[in-house]
Amino acid sequence: MKRILLMSAAMVVGLSATASANEALQGLIDDPKQWAIQTGDYENTRYSELDQITKDNVGDLQVAWTFSTGVLRGHEGSPLVIGDMMYVHTPFPNIVYALNLAEDGKIMWKYEPKQDPNVIPVMCCDTVYRGTAYADDTIFLHQADTTLVALDAKTGEVKWSVVNGDPSIGETNTATVLPVKDKVIVGISGGEFGIRGHVTAYDMKTGERVWRAYSMGPDSDTLMDPENTTHLGKPVGAESGTNTWEGDQWKIGGGSTWGWYSYDAELDLFYYGTGNPSTWNPAQRPGDNRWSMTIMARNPDTGVAKWLYQMTPHDEWDYDGVNEMILTDQEVDGKMRKLLTHPDRNGLAYTMDRETGELLVAEKFDPEVNWTTGVDMDPDSDTYGRPAVVAAYSTEQNGEDVNSTGICPAALGTKDQQPSAYSPKTGLFYIPTNHVCMDYEPFRVSYTAGQPYVGATLAMYPAPGSHGGMGNFIAWDNIEGKIKWSIPEQFSVWSGALATAGDVVFYGTLEGYLKAIDASTGDELYSFKTPSGVIGNVMTYEHAGKQYIGILSGIGGWAGIGLAAGLTDPNAGLGAVGGYAALSDYTALGGQLTVFALPN
């Protein structure tokens, strides 16, 4: 019965579960009662087939139970649910709790790693962690200090652990890992410290390293095949990871890999994006800085890249390309296509053919985006696939020590990591966004290992001349490249969305609300104020015949930096300044899981 239900979902999102996808995990993902992977499924749709909670009854939602994590900093990600067990993670010190849902959430085991607190300040932007992963009766914890630990899911005992990076040169972790087949694929953070980003596969059974692919460097490091790895359909050629850099700059080139990964079992490719090139001063690193700011499609067994696409060559604004890559099968011009949709920090949402890497759509998903007039979509053009940069907003063209003003979006992007959801029922993407612009002044910096390598001064403020708020929650059509509707929010929406078969979409807000809206119209159906601001992702599961909605509260992260004190618009009149309220007027630190259900 379960299987039959799932077949309908498979049609739209391409859940062609083959033996290669880690069969047991794929089975759990296919069962909507579980929440077996942070992203909801390998396709990153964050869509659930559960339909007990519907748009007609969601207004009756109540808090069913709560759990305090004991940690007070930014809580990103979400718990996992496997059978009777729920696995809850925390930011640094990265505690994992196993709660027994059959025993009212009794703590079955708790794992708290010992980590050197010196890793804390090396993490850009708070000590967030976007959650554990599960496969083969194992919980995979990727700690802030880059230690990857395999824990026995039943007992919490350590099966193995391996160190993936070096915090003393600025390498840290904030991301979840991707279990694929017999491997665990892991990324790295540290773009603000001049690291060289990489993706690494470890053997799921032993923790042994299988391969590592760097974001830049010689072909042997980037695992690119000069003939067969393509960029917009053309072979990348030899040494593409060094020949757009000056000298040895690629060695501290950035391109961190801390976002959300997706996987297509049929094509046997996984997808992720790379972050900004280091430093933030573009004048100090001439060239396109490949392969920072790039969508990557790689083979999980070998790491070899099949195709890639650099969205923002020679970044001038810190528009990391790490956001989620959502895989859907949809009709384009009367033909079914295997698509990849990626709403990028740079304010453009890209729709690509995920098999070939062909660029189909690149459109702004916030009308205020102004640094580019758009992407050259003509395959015969010399600048095919490149964004046309508006000179006034080019921090490169304006030069060092010049303050470029009014750039939209700000460095935190039209959206950051907060993941979108996709409903195959509506064919819409639900995207949490930031509505913030900035002034950006780059200047010369020198590199010291393990120290911030930034080189720009930024001032951020709500998009001028708009609704005055700092966020929107939008419904996006990825084929037409158009916003269907947009809900203004006072603060950036920094929570991952969830779409369900009950025609409801959920998201959290920085003030701490969990909101439920109508998947078709965006009309608000329910809201509840949780104890602290929400930067976690909404998840759902079913236990003992009842559907639950879970969300982590705990303000912090990037959003906690600027918004805590409030942002000011330097160009606004005196009267307007007071309008941009500080987040600290609405919420305080916290760390809590709140679980909702319909009344009995």
Partner: protein, 178 residues
């Protein structure tokens, strides 16, 4: 005076764990305080009568170069934890207050050596910036900028008018940055 300041600096970590507690502002020194007011100028830099670096704001709002330089360096090196304009974040204290409540030499010491507050209720770690020329070569600038913010002698955002960079400051910067 000194005792009073030390007491404040001991208390500030707990109080400012979230964002500056509004009540604290009343106990902070004003811009006319001898510990704040510029007593003399030397090569584009300003000092108190006790030879501690401080800011200067002319009547038309023109800030001394070091204050402007501090604004720039603060927003490159410090603001990813301590928030815009020295206002603090959800997890790091408002440095515009620290610059007033902490002794100058203590302030320099914490930046150079770092500091940890790690216990059951908080995980607060200030790294050591002692080897980072992008911070250390501009530390007095950052300090006077934050002092100016703490007394509200400089409003939030980018200072609109600034004095030019003096030859002495340029020479010192080149020597320090190498």
């Amino acid at each position: 005076m000194l005792t009073n300041r030390r007491l404040l600096s001991a208390g500030f970590v707990g109080l400012l764990a979230f964002v500056a507690a509004p009540g604290l502002a009343e106990t902070l020194p004003s811009r006319d305080d001898p510990a704040i007011a510029a007593a003399y100028e030397e090569g584009g830099r300003y000092f108190t009568e006790d030879d501690i670096p401080t800011f200067n704001v002319a009547e038309d709002g023109t800030v001394g170069w070091p204050t402007f330089s501090g604004f720039r360096r603060y927003h490159a090196e410090c603001h990813v934890c301590h928030g815009p304009d020295g206002e603090g974040s959800t997890y790091a204290p408002a440095l515009k207050t620290s610059a007033l409540t902490m002794d100058y030499y203590d302030f320099i010491g914490v930046v150079a050596e770092g500091r940890q507050k790690v216990n059951a209720s908080q995980n607060s770690v200030m790294p050591s910036f002692g080897t980072n020329p992008n911070v250390m070569c501009y530390l007095d600038d950052i300090y006077v900028y934050l002092k100016a913010r703490g007394t509200e002698a400089v409003a939030r955002g980018r200072p609109a008018k600034k004095e030019p960079k003096s030859d002495l400051i340029r020479e010192d910067e080149d020597a320090c940055m190498g």
